[in-house]
């Protein structure tokens, strides 16, 4: 096969776009881990529930844009309820307790969705405004994917502002470093953690709604999401926003370029990256050492 400039350019751009989606999938997981040291195995399930709530909201309101706002809020509220009554009693018990709990929770959510919405998938049409392809000069590219990239960029900027530039962010960061001292200073850390968990699951739901027009919705749609989110989080460094961005784009581009050279290896490429990073820099590209200890 001939490697023309157009083909390579399109492949590279496709990889970046895919990477943006990977970033979106990983950010919520990374945030919760970085601040709470909770490994949220139900991340993929929250993603899937978000897509279904989005579908439901879009049908009821007739607007994709409203669904894009409603679904993250509903799922964030549900996520906060999970933190308050399920996960909070497990703090201080070792990292595997919340891990097992969320693992079980993910199964319950998938079965729950199957009971409510049925076992087979449902269609989710791309909003009319974003249908079709946009000409990028070297090829046509789906307009909707360009929109997703823009949303990811905005989301990351807002998150960065929230964490680095507000007093709430200051408490979050301090709480992540040393919750005891923060508590001694008179800050209600558990409230902060509740909110962080809500934001993390809300972002998972946002990713779900944004993914729905790309692949429709089905109860199993969250399963592989968890894998991707974990790889990106581990490569970037647990809990690092910057890490999630760089790692997500890296994994997307490498996967895409691998398709050109050796397509069968495309899916494995992300695990090769992860293995290499873990060997050379076990805390990930931008991670703090010792977070898992």
């Amino acid at each position: 096969m001939e490697l023309t400039f157009d083909l390579v350019a399109l492949q590279l751009f496709t990889g970046l776009a895919l990477g943006a989606i990977y970033v979106l999938l990983a950010v919520g997981l990374s945030l919760i881990f970085g601040m709470l040291t909770v490994v949220n195995f139900a991340h993929g399930a929250f993603f899937m529930v978000g897509a279904y709530v989005g579908l439901f909201a879009a049908e009821k309101t007739g607007s994709f844009w409203l669904a894009l706002v409603i679904a993250p809020m509903v799922v964030a509220a549900f996520g906060m309820a999970c933190e308050r009554w399920l996960i909070r009693p497990l703090y201080g018990r070792g990292i595997d307790y919340p891990l097992l709990l969320t693992f079980g929770l993910s199964y319950m959510l998938v079965e729950g969705v199957r009971i409510v919405w049925g076992k087979s998938g449902l269609p989710f049409d791309t909003p009319e405004l974003l249908q079709g392809a946009t000409n990028l000069g070297f090829a046509d590219f789906p307009t909707y994917r360009l929109f997703v990239i823009a949303v990811v960029a905005v989301l990351l900027f807002v998150l960065w502002l929230l964490i680095e530039r507000t007093s709430f962010g200051l408490i979050v960061r301090a709480g992540a470093r040393d919750p005891v001292i923060v508590r001694v200073l008179g800050v209600d850390v558990s409230r902060v953690w509740l909110l962080v968990f809500g934001v993390g699951t809300g972002i998972a739901a946002l990713a779900g709604v944004l993914s729905a027009p790309l692949q429709g919705v089905s109860p199993e749609m969250g399963t592989s999401v968890l894998t991707v989110a974990f790889v990106v989080t581990v490569v970037g460094g647990m809990g690092s926003l910057m890490g999630a961005v760089v790692a997500g784009l890296l994994v997307g581009v490498v996967e895409s370029m691998a398709v050109l050279i050796f397509p069968e290896a495309a899916k494995v490429s992300m695990f090769v990256i992860m293995a290499a990073v873990l060997l050379i820099r076990p805390q990930g590209l931008f991670g703090r050492a010792g977070l898992m200890a």
Binding site: Q11, T14, G121, F124, T126, M221, T223, V259, L260
Partner: protein
Amino acid sequence: MRHASTCRPLILSLRGTALGALLAAAGMAHAQTIKIGLPVPLTGPYGAEAKDQVRNAELAVKEFNDAGGLAERKAELLVRDDKLNPGEAATRTLELIEKDHANFIVGGLSAATQLSINNVTKLRKVVYVSISQSDVINETSDASPYTFHEALNPHMTTQAVGRHVFKKGMRIAFLTADYAYGQEMTRGFTRVARELGAEVVGEVKHPLGQQDYSTFLPRLQAMKPDVLIFNNFGNDNRIAIKQAGEFGMKKKMRFVTPILTYTARVAGGASTYEGVIGGTQYFWGIEDKTPSAKAFNTAFKAANENRHPSDYGAMAYSAVKSLLLAVKSAGATDSDKVAAALSALKYDAYKGVQYYRGCDHQSVQSVLIIESTAKETKDPADVFKVLSVVPADEKLLRSCGELGFKG
């Protein structure tokens, strides 16, 4: 001494007959019902199809019982969940045969579970009618006197679809799920393309359960095919076709998929599948021209709140129907007699006359070529138009000799 020695055999034989009578009575109770085991993946991604298969099998059993059964012996369906897992399918099948004394097995909704069920039934000499697509089940390695295949197989599906779509000089590309199903489809299409003088310009393989196909699409576009064939199934099929459409590829080439299923079409929506051509073994829309389809649709709708039978579901009906017809004509339930009756059977369960070919017990049957309609219609089940019905013909199958059967 003498007295005792004459008496003992008498007592023994008395006890023997009493026990024998008791056993015979117990045996009679067992013999009353004809048990058909149905292992299908009720949980998991094909749960919807599996449920519909149960409904269809139930209808066939009910019709048999309403018609009086086999000399007052009624049939009973034993449904088990194989969870789409070959190990689970084998265990459930073994239980059905050993513990529940199932006389026959029907079921399996993937090539892998089907082959593992067949491994069990082959050894136990139990008649098995399989209802999912597989080429291997026709081959000598897996064939047995007790194995019957009611579903289409990838080879005949691709021959029928290929003959309809391919023209001399056309450029054909494949997007293939990298497992038995996809590989068998590619093999079949490649063969028919060669026969018709169409050119296969390339193939991109993807792993099962892929959720983003964007990275595969630039390569496929660069091959500049006239026809792009999606050799994948279920969610993979739906997502791949949707994303390729959004890259604007549907305007440049014809989208084809070997098996266009009702559930994938409903899950994907009208715009995703618009204009996509594929094969199927059944669509209820043939009822205008096929009396048995009309009768079947009517009976199914009456029993299931006016719902139409689905493609994969209807196969379970036809499988159980043909099995029970054979039971009736054999007048017995033992494996050898029923297998012989199945081999001799000509049946028209729901779409015209079918029969199981002698060497590999593949059901020789028609293949429907369908196209997905453009808009959501008033009747939500009215999703396809039938482009052509390729009549039942052994020419669509690999020959017995090619499969390794002798003489």
